[in-house]
């Protein structure tokens, strides 16, 4: 049990930096206005926060920075609704609201000694990115790392500069792809959809865990590929994106079968997912 405070009132955070990733995606770096609050803030990769702009409302985003990075957190959003449209005009020194961290996290401790496979599509890069950086910063704890990341078009790739930096690490393979027709003349990556590219990439599945995040259709077609590669359901992880309001297991919106995604998720293994009703 936690002490009784207003669990719906956010902390204030200052915008340190805004990066435009694509035509409709931006990433934002923020830090607590209250230094003391920043000092005791800890989170685990995979957790999410409720980010808000006053007068517009709150939205749920994964904290896409690594938990090793102190003094700031980052989140990334696509401009789609009322809140994200308002967030789009954020500038340095602006103030936003933050509640969190909420939800469970990627079991990085459990993954120690394993080969890691990260598969993502489109705007799903941010929730992979925090885990990728975490793994790279603790490089000796993990085996081979393979990252397969695809987007519709070259210009839709999020955190594109970082992809190159990751590839420079030891025993890290980055496979980047765009949908057919989405390539540019200077594109050197793969052309094709994430499931097919994954299959072609011949990633060794032995002693591996996979983290798959992306649009439902990508997940749907990627899972059989992973099964064919020999990954067990309990070694395949994903993060659900149910609509949330409170983030603390009260408002009922993210309830899916026996779980509240905000409290018992958002991270689930495929094994757990299969026991959930198809309601997400």
């Amino acid at each position: 049990m936690r002490p009784m405070t207003n669990i719906y009132q956010p902390d204030l955070m200052e915008v340190l930096d805004v990066q435009q990733q694509t035509a409709d995606v931006k990433s934002v770096r923020v830090r607590f206005r209250d230094e003391a609050r920043g000092d005791d803030f800890h989170f685990r990769v995979g957790q999410f926060g409720m980010f808000s702009l006053f007068g517009y409302g709150e939205s749920t985003f994964n904290i896409c920075s690594s938990s090793n990075w102190k003094d700031f957190v980052e989140f990334c959003f696509r401009r789609t609704g009322r809140v994200t449209e308002a967030l789009w005009s954020l500038e340095k020194n602006d103030t936003i609201g933050f509640r969190g961290p909420y939800g469970n996290s990627y079991p990085m401790d459990k993954w120690v000694g394993k080969n890691l496979i990260f598969l993502g599509g489109g705007i799903a890069m941010p929730p992979l990115r925090c885990a990728i950086w975490y793994a790279l910063e603790n490089r000796d704890q993990f085996g081979d790392i393979t990252i397969v990341y695809g987007a519709r078009r070259v210009q839709d790739l999020v955190f594109r500069q970082e992809l190159d930096r990751w590839a420079e690490y030891d025993r890290v393979r980055v496979v980047c792809c765009v949908d057919p027709g989405g390539e540019t003349p200077d594109w050197t990556g793969e052309v094709g959809f994430v499931p097919a590219v994954t299959e072609r990439a011949q990633i060794p599945a032995e002693n591996a865990v996979a983290l798959v995040i992306g649009p439902p259709v990508m997940i749907k077609f990627t899972l059989p590929v992973l099964a064919k590669m020999g990954l067990a359901d309990r070694d395949i992880y994903t993060s659900l994106e149910n609509r949330m309001k409170c983030g603390v297991g009260k408002c009922g919106r993210c309830n899916c079968g026996p779980v509240y995604v905000c409290k018992e998720g958002p991270v689930f293994t495929l094994e757990q997912l299969k026991s959930l009703p198809n309601d997400y």
Partner: protein
Amino acid sequence: MLQPLRETCRRLLQDGTVQVVIGYGQAVRAVEPYPVFITAPDDVGQLVWNEQCRTNLVKYLLRKEIRALGKPAIVVKGCDERALVVLQQELQIDRSQIVVIGVACDGMDEPRCEVCDAHQPRFADHIIGHATNEMQPAERRYAHLGEFLERPLPDRMAYWKAELERCVKCYACRQACPLCYCERCIVEKNRPACLDTSATLKGNFAWHIVRAFHLAGRCVGCDQCSRVCPEGIDLRLLNLSMAREAEASFGHRSGTDPQAELVLGSFSQQDQEQFIR
């Protein structure tokens, strides 16, 4: 009445004219009849007809869950039928793809039935039973509103404050209304957020003004909104006020003439304008 109704429905289902009949069923007398969707000819026995069949079923013609069942036949009373006329005028339904079974009605024991002039359906494809439509003078039809408007303005405001104080914004009024069919209602739009979604007095006034006015010149007076309101708010008064004015100023009674122009979709250069400076 009931036997011919069931027989008509059985025939329509049997010969494949329709795939579903939207009608009334009832488990026990103590519970009001509720809508049923009959898809098999042998199930027509579930259909009932009695003086408790108050619900206007027309809304179901617009619900995607019911549309998925195939071509419908629908059981309507003379008053419900008027909503069909408006939906047809507003191009929301293809009348040729709907079989309308009109049932003559002697009244459903509601106040509005006393001033009803549509006991006998007029536009149905099949008519069950017979009733007589008597002309009702406008003063009688709008008597309920007339009485209310005898109160001075501040009393009216006080009345609505007390009534709307209870509104919890369950939106039953909207969901049950046969003429509320927007894909996304204005209260659900948030870019920009035009109305407060809160069920505060402020948000409730704003909502009920919107709800009523979006039915201006359209409402057919089926009273679904008042009937379904769990807080017993007399929304009928709001609808009547605009229906009366539409009739007085433009000679328009919604849902009585499929050929008529829509009140707010048309205008006349002669429209009254004493109130404009």
